[in-house]
């Protein structure tokens, strides 16, 4: 099987590490060779964050370059727009409709662009937009929007439900497990 490439992008603090680890854990349990590349340190402090997940028979490079991603999962609209160059022609973007102002917008030197989802669609990408923040709040914790989006991803990948449940159990601390299970369900059906 040819290597598949999935990017997870968002803002530092939105939980992209958990999302990429969930996906990685599911993929390795399916018997694929997997590489997950994360970013730690300086970039996590509210900055633009990107993680790469690649799987197939044999994966070499852990990074995904321009024009290589089959799917981009974005936790924030501006980040979806920022990374669109990494999408393969005709690839899919699953994005949360959440908008978080970056510092240049907060300090008034730049504006948050409008109608980004429309613009991304016009550029040829297939867009699946999910109001992940509301669904996470409905599940009981605004911070679970990462898992809402992973639920949506699960509905598109044809893997056993049990792999996802096992990965959640393995990676989510027990006291947050219930909220995250609900968030996952809500995302799956969104």
């Amino acid at each position: 099987m040819q290597t598949k490439s999935i990017m997870i992008v968002g803002v530092g603090g939105q939980g992209s590490l958990l999302a990429s680890r969930l996906l990685g854990s599911v993929l390795i349990s399916r018997g694929y060779d997997v590489k997950v590349s994360e970013v730690h340190g300086m970039s996590q402090r509210g900055g633009s964050v990107v993680t790469y997940v690649k799987y197939g028979d044999k994966v070499y490079s852990p990074v995904i370059e321009k024009g290589e991603a089959d799917v981009i999962i974005s936790f924030e609209e501006l980040e979806a727009a920022r990374w669109i160059s990494h999408l393969k022609p005709g690839g899919t973007i699953i994005t949360s409709t959440q908008q978080i102002d970056p510092m240049p917008v907060i300090s008034g030197v730049a504006e948050y662009p409008d109608k980004l989802i429309e613009k991304i669609e016009n550029a040829g990408a297939k867009v699946i937009a999910v109001d992940a923040l509301s669904l996470a709040q409905k599940a009981g914790n605004a911070k679970a929007s990462n898992v809402v989006l992973m639920g949506k991803v699960a509905s598109l990948l044809d893997f056993d439900e049990s792999c996802w449940q096992n990965a959640l159990k393995k990676l989510v601390p027990p006291k947050f497990l219930e909220v995250n299970k609900i968030a996952f369900e809500l995302g799956k059906n969104a």
Binding site: S25, E38, H40, S43, Y60, L78, R82, L87, P102, M103
Partner: protein
Amino acid sequence: MKELMLGNKAFARGLYEAGCKVVSSYPGTPSTEITEEAAKYDEIYAEWAPNEKVAMEVALGASMAGARSFCGMKHVGLNVAADPLYTASYTGVNGGMVIAVADDPGMHSSQNEQDSRHHAEASKVMMLEPSDSDECKRYTKLAFELSERFDTPVIVRMSTRVSHSQSAVELKERDEISLKDYEKNPSKYVMMPAYARGRHVFVEQRTLDEIEYAESCDINTVEDNGADIGVITSGISYVYSKEALGDRVNYLKLGIVYPLPKKLIEDFCKKCKKVYVIEELDPFIENHCKALGVEVIGKEIFSMLGEYSQSLIAERVFGEKKDYTELDEQIPVRPPVMCAGCPHRGLFYCLSKLGLTVSGDIGCYTLGAAAPLTAMDSTICMGASISALHGFNKAREGADKKSVAVIGDSTFMHSGMTGLVNIAYNASNSLVIILDNSITGMTGHQQNPTTGKNLKGDPAAAVNLEELCKAIGIKNVSVVDPYHMSECEKVIKEKVALDEPCVIISRRPCALLKYVKHNPPLNVESDKCVGCKQCLKIGCPAISIHDKKCEIDSTQCVGCGICKEMCRLGAIR
């Protein structure tokens, strides 16, 4: 059994399986998780040392005592530990000693982009370089064997992408290695001139023996695909090359990057019409090849800057490019920022407002250099804020004192306090502000000698910063709470005007620490807000402006109250 593991975690697994007994490190991105993960094994004694020099000396002592030992650090940490490294090369080891150094090409989280391979060559210490997590584990175990076989410390060179990528690792049981006997041996361990001369002879012979090993060892491998083009590479550049070039070229993959083989390289190149050396940062392997008289192509077409990737390599070697689309839209950048509720924010706002020259240091607070606070004039290396301030003030003695140094608690313990000794001893009129957030923040919340806890989270002796500064000879030491900006401003103004060395400790734990209780989020009363943007001057990511009114994001706000102090109209409650 195969498990998906971070390179750093796999490294720690290698320490465990190799029977490593003593681990001492100082945190530094991207190396930190090696030691954090090692600490999870009960069989390993693991600690955070105050700095890398101490850590390496601890590891060397443990090795002399007969145990397998380890110390880990980032690339710039190896500069701090260079002093023991260069002489540990002479003493060699008793129990195996392994050093991890993690380079950061692309500077994701570092102040420079140095190539640590030069340290291996200069100190004459063998260096291995893994390319994925499974190799991290295997090379770590091999490094212990080589350390004992050749009587040398062995460095394993990591890089950001290897350290922070996860891939499958095959787990094995731990080898129980018994403590070796310790025998007094001054000619090996007392490095005074008479004995060190003898050891230098040993080191030169050892390097020749290691080269012979490198000619035919398992981790320097040739992959012959019957192609005309050859690629000599190592570490992360190998996997980028494999993805970009596949089996269209032959490979010489070097698992040992110091010392480099001779015959192996010459033979490989003879079979190829054209050979590329693909290595991030400096032309280390390339220069070696050229010194051998072998014709290779390297930095003529590849950069010494930043990270490589499969597309860069495909483009430079075969001229291949991928299609992609871009939006016709200005996408505002999203730089990292101080978190909502960060205790550094209020203090940096005061420094900015007072227009002081700020000698900065390494930590989260380096973000104080960014807009809108822009309250930092220089940042060099760990501890330099204090010593550079002393030099700055000595040079401008007599001029108005309008300068301060800022340094975090962990950085102060690392190498800031020696600078403060210099200020007291050589009497400079300097003001040092210790930003005590009770944790090592930037690397992800590690304990340090001021926090009262050790690496395993158990209670430990805590350095009292006030008493320490006084013992050093600073008579004027005060403590402020950075959440109270007007008080901070008053104290800074007062101390900066004094004609003596002073220390201010700005004390408030990091807002992300689990034990820190947050206040309820604040709200903007929109009928009172006139959109003057005064509250935006503190650069809080929880505050934004929409339709000329400020808004506070309740999911981010921790109620620190700094913005409330900024608002002249009392619109924030």
